[in-house]
């Protein structure tokens, strides 16, 4: 980029700004908006929790683990991996830290002693609570503003966007590993 404005001699005509990427269907505009919605809502939603996490030297990945362990006490490592869809190594980093710092507890499975059943300790539950509370307000406000029918629509669309595997997980139907 060294000197984009350097050669003052050559006049570069300001581009005749094209229309925002020629809209083919009319529906396109709606879809583009959806991209924005997802980007901004996700970013700002996660940012809320990030602030709390920073204080503790933890990251988003830790939050995710806490969340899903909290929602699924006794979940195994491989199930957690299936839900998060990350690698064992990525999870290990985060999970070991959570265990070391006493946020997550573990116990071998009763029948199959290879399993490592994960739970939140009191400390972990408290943190998860705190993180949740921060995000909670946003959701609550947004839900209130949208009314019950709006919330229903929100859910339906979000479910429609995610993979079948994720949907199944949410239905409790899910081993989550299938697709």
């Amino acid at each position: 980029m060294t000197g984009m404005l350097k050669d003052k001699t050559r006049f570069v005509p300001p581009p005749k700004l094209p229309p925002p990427t020629p809209v083919v269907d009319l529906g396109d505009a709606e879809m583009r908006m959806a991209q924005d919605l997802l980007f901004f809502a996700y970013r700002d939603f996660t940012n809320v929790a990030d602030q709390v996490l920073d204080e503790l030297g933890l990251g988003r990945a830790h939050h995710r683990a806490l969340h899903f362990i909290g929602r699924n006490p006794g979940i195994t490592v491989s199930s957690l991996l299936a839900v998060l869809r990350i690698t064992k190594q990525s999870l290990a980093r985060v999970l070991n830290q959570l265990v070391d710092e006493g946020f997550v507890g573990q116990a071998p499975g009763f029948e199959d002693r290879r399993l490592r059943l994960l739970t939140l300790t009191d400390k972990g539950a408290a943190l998860e609570r705190r993180l949740f509370d921060a995000q909670r307000d946003r959701i609550a406000a947004a839900y209130t503003g949208a009314g019950p029918a709006g919330v229903q629509g929100f859910r339906t669309v979000m479910r429609g966007i995610m993979d079948r595997g994720a949907r199944d997980y949410m239905d409790g139907t899910g081993s989550a590993e299938d697709t």
Copy 2:
């Protein structure tokens, strides 16, 4: 973690799985679900585009830049920074690459020649199109399944979740820099 199942003598009772983090309000369950919805929908939505990007050796960050430049032809660097809310240095990496590879064009502002007005080249627009088309199907399907009222609810909730600054941007009202 070296030997969590190592001392076979000591019996570690399987934790009596506590209920999924004691639900205080009834509303809590709904809010927790929203966390899941955002996580899964966002992840799976972005993944669709990631596959295309991988082929070209580009990442999500590139997609974001392409998207917002495409939506806002002639946007300045600082406006783009305000929308994305990342640092100049982070953006530079990605943006320089896009310019070098001919996806993004630039021209100095007419009145204020310090400005660097960004646009998509044809090549850039084509790529953005391709990325969009991939995501488009998901949205289309989800929207169809939810009906017009559902879509309206989705929008309202998503807007409610994001920061005011993002909302303003979406309304076109926005300098996006204010909060």
